[in-house]
Symmetry: D2
């Protein structure tokens, strides 16, 4: 079995301009996520400031699953690259959108909604409960994942009802959040996973890493020809 | 009980340039749909060539449910009006998209997919089977609706899996189609309904009219305040 | 518009044997729920110790929506009555299952799963967040409903993924729960609503009452003939 | 990677009493299905007339995915065995229900509905269209699977709305059918797949075999501990 090709895209700005973040993720959030995936996958990295944001046609064509972390520079992502990623998803590439990526152009375009939510940076404890215990993305995970401190995201989360809801989060301050959400879009699979604010070491957490690895496996492209659209001859006699 | 305000939007081009269509819908497709709704609703009309396509802020603010028929001029619909309709849907306005409206800008924006399909103009018989027998949109409808001749639309239909699937169509030429599809987007309800090619008298069919009227009732806005998004104070002590 | 016929079924044992409960619900939980529904509906009551548990063929045939509260005597409910209610749901009667009714025979039969959960009687605060803001069952409800003290129910809740998820609960002790769940079964609509432990005055809460009234309206039977099943003649020539 | 353990259960009556069926499936339908799965899985067989219908605790405990074909002897399946299979599904065993198994005790118990449908034995052509093109169960399948002659099953099919709908069938005689339906029940995955009437050589069809093999992979148990239910201590201080 050949390894899946995973491209991890990171905005990679906080790590270069904010000492707190740089101390936690000295090589960037993308590298921490990539190390978490281990040797099971073929991992490559792409960041906002690379030419074409690192997401050239060539790179995307070789990508089975794209992981996306962005936050304060969503607007700097070129529309043409968003369209390119979008078409790749509809043609089967998996997409895993992390945390503040809820407001990325690509996620909003795929959801068709505003994707807004409540938030608070106040060291809430987060507990992600598994609500779909047989789902492959929850494999190896206990009843819940506990994160000692995280940014809070609260409902209402303005997304379409997920095709499959895997995690629901509890926060100290009194909120809940649908924090692990699966969607099919065209031939592609999309997973939104909430945790991972840049000021917390969330992507070193073994359970979080396991969820991301599970999601990469779940989101792998299906081996099928792309559907034919347009004018069609009848398969049966019409009269 | 006050009447629901329904605005019926029609591209209104075929009727003015094609004699076949003009003979079937001399007052335009919108008028036939409006007459089908009867006296139960307060109906108004809007067409592409009106200023702001007839969809001014004022009109939309007074619209509970918008019905959309478009075909060959999707590209002429102004982006600003699309955005205005989109925001109204997220804030609760119902939207019923008919037939070739599957390729309208507003439907694609709300779905997040390509919305492509197979099609054929060859007088296929269509039979729309009810697959959700207790759904309010199927109220008063028999086991199926039969249309003697219609344009064929066939799978794969590139939409997200519907939140609720109400009708599945059979066509003489050998295809099937998910032809009645419900979605929630933000606070708004969206219903896609397949039938209604301009060269057939489909919108005079009593069962088709009943489905559209049912859908208008189903899609009525919910009386609730729009959710608050953004930075949130804790509801419980954090320590 | 004629009023919907609502039958409220209550086990009605705690109120007769437990002073705490009797003090809160001196006329029984069913009466408190019925008063909450107000004059908009035609309400009747049925309890476990009535002949046929009060659910005769005649009563059920005149019932549009049945509300169910049971707890410690699920096993005493006669199988024949369960089957009768089950058939009525498949034929279109709405069913609203409250709180500990999650373990009733009728709910388990309709769900096809074990319906187990975590629980704790320790005066947790409960906050029910609306996650489907345009849903008719959430009409008139704020962003959340807060109950100062309730029994905790926690995930995993062993139900099928709801067709529509309306509420998710937060509890002080650290758990979450899918607390407002919609299902279609045959022609009937089923709504599970979590709150209402017998030792708390939950059914006097105005927001809780509003949710139950909304659910009654949502669950009303559809006016349609029951589908035909069995051997079928072809509608089209086979050769 | 160790092979998945698949148990194929067959009623195995038609083949022993009906020459037409025996000529098509001389070793039984189960054997044809098993040969179709090939060497990729560890296959074992069980039939109605074996002690405990071949589904002993030991066999089930070693079964990752159970395939079920039954038709005229559903009533002879022992309730205790049905309960045993049911518990195994809730604890994670996959279940693939074929064709007339829609009326089996185990399927009806898991669905919570009547599972009735229309049918006709008249050599209709069946065309199973893929409506979820990225789904793993459709991997390697073209736009549709064509079966020259099959029994017809038509809507309405009295099942809960599938969690995922993969195939929709077209039949010559004018009907449609949701013919590939995915469900989660407890920790287990359930797939209903329509084709396979005993008088047709359907289980020798390569595409049908591919779907069944795909479904076995999809339905494999998740490696997770069974959820804890019952009384729970708080995870956070209550005051």
């Amino acid at each position: 079995m050949t390894k899946q090709n995973v491209t991890i895209w990171n905005e990679y700005r906080h790590e270069q301009h904010n000492k707190t973040v740089a101390d936690i993720y000295p090589q960037g959030i993308h590298t921490a996520i990539g190390e978490g995936l281990g040797q099971e996958f073929h991992v490559r990295y792409a960041t906002l400031d690379m030419p074409e944001h690192g997401l050239t046609e060539e790179v995307l064509n070789e990508t089975d699953v794209l992981i996306w972390w962005g936050h304060k520079a969503h607007e700097e992502v070129d529309e043409a690259i968003v369209e390119r990623v979008y078409q790749r998803v509809l043609h089967g590439m998996g997409l895993i959108v992390l945390h503040s990526g809820h407001f990325s152009k690509i996620f909003k375009k795929l959801m068709g909604t505003g994707c807004d939510l409540k938030w608070r940076e106040a060291n809430d404890k987060e507990r992600l409960w598994v609500v779909s215990p047989g789902h492959p993305i929850a494999e190896g995970i206990g009843e819940y994942i506990e994160l000692e401190a995280e940014e809070m995201y609260g409902e209402h989360f303005d997304i379409p009802a997920p095709d499959e809801l895997v995690f629901v989060s509890w926060f100290t301050g009194g909120e809940v959040f649908r924090s692990g959400c699966c969607y099919q879009r065209g031939m592609g699979k999309v997973f939104y996973f909430r945790p991972g604010h840049e000021t917390y070491p969330t992507y070193y957490n073994e359970q979080i890493r396991r969820v991301i690895a599970n999601a990469v496996k779940w989101a792998k492209p299906s081996e099928r020809t792309y559907p034919k659209y347009g004018n069609a001859q009848p398969l049966e006699p019409l009269n």
